[in-house]
Symmetry: C2
Subunit: 408 residues, 2 copies
């Protein structure tokens, strides 16, 4: 039988009223004759209360125990969803992560799914039941409860879809789909009909919080089509798949932006081959996420490395650099705050030279200085002053005719 | 190594402040060189919120899903307790019911423990860890989460103590121990130093809510000493064990009372041997708890059966009787509300005839009418008007010199 996995979270299950609404959507799929698996995320309010209680007891609670604590939140959501489905007259059963066979590594708070042992899900589906899985959680090899961290419920949904050969995953969110840019800030932003995994991956990594990169990667790996759709409105969402038709020859298909970026620059008197590796090894060991990296080794100038980090990791990064100054062998460190990153994304870029040049030219005409540049096959990111971020994004959205993106 | 099981619940874990207090008590036992297992019950506030959400969704939520829902509450408590112990500098690990090996039958909301597979608890104890078990929950043969119903956490504590050969179970409650009567109502009620399992069983069944009968039965079966003690004050509690010294020749060792009792009387024109069995089979099938039963078959009078039920089950009981009138073959049903049950309990009674007579005589002198009587080897219960309940209890407490009960 054809199978579908539906993921509900955040706003979609924020209250019992919303859970009843969600139940209707799951029931509609069941009535179409599909096998239905529902994956729920944690309920936001509950998670906040749990976090407060843990903080009251300890500033440094063990991650194992935090997983025991926080996993209850999606367990509550899954039971409530099952009750709502039963109340609607359908046979439903909730499963925790360990019951659903979500086997993970032992990295508490941020575990990775290793395998899905689907026998129990299969058994319930064979009985005609709607299976509701508490997302974001699993069990490690030593039978400890783990949670998956950010994007865990979406990742759970895609992993289960792959394991049971589902036709599709529907992600119900508080947005109607994937837009060419954030419609709250960019005039004329349009919802895309389709987007490729690779484009979505760039968007996910570039400050667009619709779908976590882990979920997109997994969907790409197993070639599972995913639809991003509204949990409130019954409108067509955006289909995520391998290859998309280039709509109206749009080379660039999205503009993303992210504020609160800080640039750190480290300069060397004497620079060795190991300098770069050493620097980023130390930062990684201290769990500081580095984004754009620019290395400048120019004759006559002292060598330097610049990289961007998020505002919330700034203090920690400075602390690490200070402590490691001797071992890393750099002579000075400098930083610039108040920056933002603006990116253009599109699979068509790879075969269209000159896209970056057109981007830089437009920004120059807008009078917006470009501080750093980073490129991939399908995106170009620039670091600009934060005050210019929205203007830059709007200008690029217009430059690449994104307001003309076709939806339906 | 000597082992102890500590049960904390209700008031003892109502807030993070209280959880820190509890941690001190567990740590004190650990510092005495004992292996320590802690059993937590659900956090009251959380359980209420969960119940409300379930009710919002359904008046008749499935018990399986309610178990998934409510089991999160003691899981939260266990994780918070483990965090508090870790913050105090001790190695601690929380376990859910299934992780702790609590194997139960499949009767959701009211499951019975079948076995405790202790290998995981043993492993953690061997590593010197304080093991915190989420009480009130287990797992059935089909790997579904179950909860144990009323008294579940105490029962869990005693079951684990039996399985790991613990020396003792300490139940931390909001009372200081077992009293000769409820000190809130009875002048001169004294805390008992010791009480036998059988006496405690009668007390538990007679409206004294200190310890659930299931836990007492299990403790008696495995001969596990249990101490009932205060979670707030560091004072000696009451030791529950098989044989107790009769203190100062006290034949009666406790007076218990329970209000909101309703008497139902059913009369027959023609009474057969099957009438009694049929009546109580139908009531049991409808889950109506019947307490005292009095059958009167007197020549010249129509036969009748009277029995007591709790106020909250009255409407349901009437409904059942009405629906079954034909099949049960009775001719009339009558009821009396506003009744209470007062009981005297003591192991010494069996070998002391005349205790019941002395009780009735005192009540007669107090002018309190006795509506029904029920006796066992170690207790006598009478049903009296609710308005006379406290007076009756005080009179009996005085009659049997309970104010002279020795504590320490």
């Amino acid at each position: 039988m054809t199978r579908i996995v539906l993921k509900f979270g955040g706003a979609a299950i924020a209250s019992t009223d919303r859970i009843q609404e969600f139940a209707k959507k799951a029931v509609a799929e069941k009535n179409r004759g599909l096998d239905v698996v529902v994956v729920t995320s944690a309920m936001g309010r509950t998670a906040k209360e749990l976090a407060k209680m843990a903080r009251d007891l300890s500033d440094d609670a063990s991650k194992r125990e935090l997983d025991v604590l926080f996993s209850t939140s999606s367990q509550v959501a899954s039971a409530l969803c099952a009750i709502a489905l039963q109340e609607a007259g359908y046979d439903a059963v909730s499963l925790t992560g360990w019951q659903a066979g979500l086997l993970t590594d032992a990295k508490h708070r941020n575990a990775r799914i290793g395998d899905v042992a689907v026998n129990r899900i299969e058994k319930h589906l064979a009985q005609g039941q709607i299976v509701v899985v508490a997302g974001e959680q699993g069990i490690d090899g030593a039978q400890n409860i783990t949670t998956l961290g950010k994007g865990g419920a979406e990742t759970t949904a895609v992993a289960i879809a792959a394991a049971i050969n589902a036709e599709r995953v529907d992600i119900f969110t508080n947005v109607e789909g994937v837009y060419t840019a954030d419609p709250n800030h960019i005039l004329g932003a349009k919802k895309l009909k389709e987007i490729s995994y690779d484009e979505m991956l760039e968007l996910s990594n570039l400050g667009s919080h619709i779908l976590h990169p882990r979920a997109v990667e997994l969907a790409k790996k197993f070639q599972i089509p995913v639809i991003i759709r509204s949990c409130e409105l019954d409108v067509t969402g955006t289909l995520l798949k391998e290859e998309v038709e280039v709509e109206k020859n749009l080379i660039v298909r999205g503009v993303a932006f992210e504020s609160d970026i800080i640039r750190l620059t480290v300069g060397y008197d004497a620079y060795s081959d190991a300098s770069l590796a050493d620097m980023f090894t130390v930062l990684a060991e201290n769990r500081i996420n580095v984004d754009i990296i620019v290395q400048a080794i120019i004759d006559g100038l002292k060598p330097s490395v610049s990289f961007t980090i998020l505002k919330e990791e700034f203090a920690q990064a400075l602390h690490v650099l200070e402590n490691s100054k001797l071992s890393l062998g750099f002579s000075f460190a400098d930083f610039e705050v108040g920056l933002a990153k603006v990116s253009i994304i599109g699979s068509g870029m790879a075969s269209n030279p000159g896209v970056a040049a057109r981007m830089f030219d437009r920004l120059r005409r807008e009078g917006i200085p470009v501080k750093m540049v980073s490129t991939s096959e399908i995106k170009v990111s620039v670091v600009v002053p934060q005050d210019d971020m929205i203007q830059a994004a709007n200008a690029l959205h217009a430059e690449f005719n994104l307001a003309e993106a076709l939806q339906e």
